[in-house]
């Protein structure tokens, strides 16, 4: 009997381990001569409706249009980063895209360990540069600043007695702060232009995968009078938008045009602050496919190269006053021209 128990336990353990690590897809469907590109996601999951998913969209686009074969491994925990990168490196992939600031240390270490493999890392730029690693960064502040202005204008329109805007952030790390600092600066710019006093209040949940906490904390912000919530932080931020929806307030999406990824909350989104990871990753992969990949430098997504941008107003297109829209457009032009600082 003891033996059968042991077997049973072992069986369950093995099953658990296998299920817990949906391992790397075998390079099936790859043609000889294809440039092999591997993507190591952050813990949010490939289906996070924002960050990882958007990067994967860019890779899929490259897979279809170019002589490229793209695969991904999802990281289950921060401890998996190096292991997953090694997986691709050992299989002699040509280019490995690591998705996110939190993979910075792992990518640096593995980049030095595998000097013949090229790397691209989202949201990280190394100083001093590493010759085979390309940083892919985004001036999201350029898009977040006009959005802060828009949110402030909307709050004044809807709640003139006590206009306030807020944010529900994931972890307090620079790529998240970059959104929020510029968002607050945009609101401050609105106050300065219009002589209003729109307050900015916000919370960092400390987690990108806690929609329940995001919602509770979004409710907490609304309790304190916030009218527009900017959800910055994967699924946690989405929870903040859920709170806004339930309480009859408004929200701003992040990373992608969340009007299309959040069916339940789309009708309260006045816009989304887009970080076009798909475009950026596609252009990096394209350069690799053409043999023109350069390491040790940085790709910067900006308003002018469509690396970042404001999503359409969708359902609010008719409700946002024309003069506010015109001011937003002017600010966008001002930022591109360099005449308006974003505060980051």
């Amino acid at each position: 009997m003891r033996k059968s128990v042991g077997l049973l336990m072992a069986g369950i353990m093995v099953l658990a381990m296998v299920l817990a690590s949906c391992g790397p897809a075998l390079p099936e469907g790859c043609k000889r001569g294809d440039v092999k590109v591997g993507m190591v996601s952050d813990v949010g999951g490939i289906d996070d409706a924002s960050f990882n998913q958007n990067t994967w969209e860019g890779l899929k686009m490259a897979d279809e249009k170019l002589d490229v074969c793209a695969k991904f491994i999802e990281s289950q925990a921060q401890a998996d980063y190096e292991k997953n990168i090694t997986e691709f490196a050992e299989q002699e992939y040509d280019l490995i895209i690591t998705v996110g600031f939190l993979l910075g240390d792992a990518t640096e270490k593995m980049g030095k360990q595998y000097p013949k493999v090229n790397f691209g890392i989202i949201d990280y730029a190394y100083d001093p540069p590493i010759p085979n690693v390309k940083g892919i960064v985004f001036n999201v502040d350029e898009a977040a600043f006009p959005i802060g202005y828009l949110a402030a204008g909307w709050a004044v329109l809807k709640d003139p007695a006590d206009p306030q805007i807020g944010y529900v952030g994931g972890m307090q790390i620079p790529p998240v702060e970059q959104f929020i600092v510029a968002y607050a600066a945009g609101a401050a710019y609105y106050n300065q232009q219009k002589g209003t006093n729109v307050l900015v209040k916000g919370v960092y949940v400390g987690d990108f995968e806690a929609p329940d906490q995001g919602k509770i904390q979004g409710n907490s912000l609304i309790d304190e009078g916030v009218d527009v919530i900017f959800g910055v932080g994967g699924k946690t931020g989405n929870g903040g938008l859920t709170a806004a929806k339930e309480r009859g307030k408004w929200g701003v999406g992040v990373d992608v045009d969340q009007y299309f990824t959040l069916p339940n909350e789309k009708d309260i989104l006045i816009t989304s602050c887009m970080k076009r990871l798909d475009n950026a990753v596609y252009s990096v992969v394209e350069s690799a496919a053409q043999g023109k990949f350069t390491g040790g430098d940085v790709y910067v997504g900006t308003l002018s190269n469509n690396g970042v941008g404001l999503a359409p107003y969708h359902d609010f297109d008719n409700q946002i006053p024309a003069d506010l829209k015109a001011e937003i457009d002017a600010i966008v032009q001002g930022i591109i021209a360099g005449s308006i600082p974003t505060g980051w």
Binding site: M9, P211, S220
Partner: protein
Amino acid sequence: MAVQSTTADRPRTLALEPKDLLVSALMASIGVMLMLLAGFGVQPGARAAFTDQIIGTLFTLPAPETLYVIGGFCLLVAGARLYRGLGSLRTVLSWLAVFFVAFAFLVWMTSGTSLNLPGMLQATLLAATPLTLGAMAGILCERSGIINIAIEGMMLTAAFAAIAFTSIFGSMWMGILGACLAGGLMAAVHAVLSIKYQVDQIVSGTVINILAVGATRFLNLRLLEPAGMSTPGHFGSYRVPVLADIPIIGPLLFDNQPTVFIMLILLVLVNYLIFATPWGLRMRACGEHPRAADTVGVHVNRMRYISVIIGGMIAGIGGAYFSIGVVGTFEDGMTRGQGFVALAAMIFGNWNPTGGFLAALLFGFADALQVKMQILRPILPFLNTPIPPEFLQAAPYILTIIVVAGVVGRSMAPAAEGKPYEKQ
């Protein structure tokens, strides 16, 4: 036990135990800290306004004066702790002090601005809901003699099942049912492993936790999402007519999502079941002295099966809170270790449902407090910086460690817990 009885037998002296000195010193330093805050951390004459969504301003307090009074009260309690003659009054005073200190923090944060107090209490109750359900699951399990560290895994599986059932049957209530079944199923696995096969109960629990992470992730990614069934929506608020219109208390208790109501009802039922029915007495006997229970004709292992599975079903409702209760989607590992915090609440609450509920409220309040601190950003005097959010986010867990380490109070596990029972 032996140590305790000698303490009781000893004639009551005025000698102080190290614990009294420690608590007293802690209280005194908190008192001094509050006085410093009053002097340097708030503007003189600043008022703290507490507001409500519907009523508007509830009351305002002069911030420095309030802090001085509460700080003084802490010093008083610190002194009282050293005087043994007060007996159990000292415990009451200590808890009163804890309550007032929490309030003092609120006043400090709010000085010169306003804070929505009922909203904060509502957030506390919400955060406490899965913790209380998890704690009750643990209590049912452990009171019958089976250690349960698999609450996390049961909740996670149930969170997933709730989404799946809601999508398939198109009803949230079917989702709750599915969550119950999934929780019960995982509990049944735990029960079979630990009762029939006498596997180490910690190992069995660990296996279930790991299995839940992998299985839910796999099923979600490969089945639910491709079928377009991963976003069935979530429960809205249910208003209890009339009662929900009572100011402050109404929105807090009677305008909530159903899992909160279920939790409150189960709290009463489980308390009754464990402490007021013959079944509860037998069940507890199985956890304290299974041989004795067996001698009088109680089927020990059958009792344990039933308790563990009922516990799993309750944990399942806790899991449903996370998915269909709040956001309407399933995310990998979305229970985020709350099952383990629920265990801490169970221990803090001394294996008693009401105690577990109060502990869960305390954890929930700590969480709500850190959120408000981030929103209001009170500036620490001398350091001239707001309290870093990372520190605040860690606060509930630091509290948990303190509780589990047994610094606060003394909790007593069921005597026969973790020991398999074989009929002789």
